[in-house]
């Protein structure tokens, strides 16, 4: 796999004839990408600090506050996460019972931390492959480290998109709780006879 910024490198060519170019010129021109490598690198080497420090602070905060208990997957999370996904895809009606975060969220929010560490380590491995040669070695060499770094970045894009879609689907009350840190639950006294109506089990993320 070639990870390369120049636009002419990605194509399907058979017997010298180019059948398909994955990134035709208009794609790059519309996004105004050409000849901006130095600019992109300069942004990269500033924002790497921001993302790394932000990640470390967040990680430390979850440890000190004890919030990691809400975020770490539990033994049954992996099984449950499957049920959550089925529920979110409207294949299964009932969502499994959850705490602050459901099983799928626990896995996602822990995975993103591991991914973050992965990005820092693979990033250093390709940023200073001579000075941090041992990191490059751990990452399986310069090429593999670059591929990992790139795949992780794609992972963030998917995480971001899915996350935003989920927040929109979960609705306003959930979003409000994300911002304010609490959830409003009407604790009506339980009726003596339970109704069989399950429509009001408002599922929140």
């Amino acid at each position: 796999m070639l990870i390369y910024w120049a636009n002419d490198e990605y194509y399907i060519r058979i017997f010298g004839h180019t059948y398909f170019r994955f990134f035709p010129d208009w794609f790059y021109n519309t996004l105004k990408i050409p000849h901006r490598l130095s600019e992109g690198m300069a942004f990269h080497f500033l924002f790497m600090w921001f993302f790394t420090l932000n990640g470390i602070l967040y990680f430390i905060y979850t440890i000190i506050s004890g919030d990691w208990r809400e975020l770490m997957p539990k033994k049954n999370s992996f099984k449950e996460a499957f049920l959550v996904v089925l529920h979110d895809l409207h294949i299964r009606k009932m969502a499994p019972p959850q705490n602050k975060y459901n099983a799928a969220q626990r896995i996602a929010y822990t995975a993103i931390i591991i991914m973050g560490f992965g990005s820092v380590i693979t990033g250093l491995a390709i940023y200073k492959p001579v000075q941090f040669y041992y990191l490059t070695w751990i990452c399986g060499g310069y090429h593999f480290a670059r591929i990992l770094h790139f795949i992780l970045t794609l992972g963030y894009v998917f995480f971001f998109v899915i996350h935003i879609v989920q927040v929109i689907l979960a609705g306003w009350n959930n979003f409000r709780s994300v911002i304010s840190g609490f959830e409003v639950v009407n604790e009506n006294p339980k009726p003596a006879i339970e109704t069989t109506n399950t429509d009001n089990d408002e599922h929140t993320e």
Binding site: E39, A42, F43, K100, Q131, F132, S180, E183
Partner: protein, 277 residues
């Protein structure tokens, strides 16, 4: 799922400490919810606007004043320079670039750029001499034959370009350090930078002294066991594995020493001056 009730059990009993004042009316649950929502949404809005404005500020920030470096936004250039200072601490002569067996070296070595070595430019390798500019205007002239009498060092390593490509290639020549030792230029290595230029002065690089003195930095005259082809930088080129390709000057004309950054072709185009690996 923290319920609101649990969260609101602790709060606000400040009023009790001043007995003269009438205790305030307990807020209703509804009021507490509204108050907390208001505070957190205000904070969220302020942060969101702050982030957006911060990005706008950065994106629209002015270009640096053109000098040794140019072409980058002021704050980004500052960040590049600070980042250099941070990562220079990790630099060591004991950290060596990975080397490979000869069989892995590319037969067709990529020619990515011809700035300063353009084919149409008249250049005769036979009359070429390396110029080392010493103090007081003294110039040391070294021919290729003289250089070839110095100990030869070979390296087969992965040459890396900022553009994203890399290639295992095989070079042979004189260690920069050996050149310094042989011509007794040790005093000059107390200075902070080495500058190198093509004979036509079209391409030029500045290298920090530790990187230049790294044991794998070569003044190469051979590629794949043969004398360098012209487009690969004949008669003598810089092979510096601790830097990206942009610093590996082809066809070295002159070498200078200084305590301030020498001018550098790509640093004037917005790239990091250090560009170290």
């Amino acid at each position: 799922m923290k319920t609101l009730n649990r969260l609101l059990k602790q709060p606000i009993q400040i009023t009790m400490s001043t007995p003269n004042k009438k205790p305030k009316k307990e807020l209703t649950i509804e009021q507490k919810i509204n108050r907390r929502n208001f505070i957190s949404f205000s904070a969220f809005t302020v942060l969101a606007v702050g982030a957006f404005e911060g990005w706008e500020w950065l994106y629209k920030s002015p270009q640096e004043t053109a000098g040794i470096t140019a072409g980058a936004r002021k704050p980004l250039r500052r960040a590049l320079n600070k980042t250099e200072l941070f990562f220079r601490r990790a630099f060591s002569d004991n950290h060596l670039v990975k080397t490979y067996p000869k069989s892995m070296a590319a037969k067709h070595v990529r020619v990515n750029s011809d700035i300063g070595v353009e084919a149409e430019k008249k250049f005769d390798p036979a009359t070429w001499k390396l110029q080392v500019n010493k103090k007081g205007g003294e110039v040391l002239q070294i021919s290729l034959q003289e250089l070839m009498t110095l100990p030869k060092t070979e390296i087969i390593y992965d040459f890396k370009c900022v553009e994203g490509w890399d290639q295992i290639s095989h070079w042979g020549g004189v260690k920069f350090k050996d050149l310094i030792d042989h011509y007794q230029l040790g005093d000059y290595t107390k200075m902070q930078y080495v500058g190198m230029e093509t004979p036509d002065k079209a391409y030029y690089v500045g290298i920090d002294m530790p990187s230049a003195m790294h044991p794998q930095t070569l003044l190469a005259y051979e590629m794949n066991d043969k004398l360098l082809p012209l487009q690969n930088g004949a008669p003598l080129r810089l092979i510096i594995p601790v830097k990206y390709g942009i610093k590996n000057l082809k066809r070295i004309g002159s070498i200078t020493f200084s305590n301030s950054r020498p001018h550098d072709y790509w640093a004037e185009q917005g790239y990091d001056y250090y560009s170290g690996l």
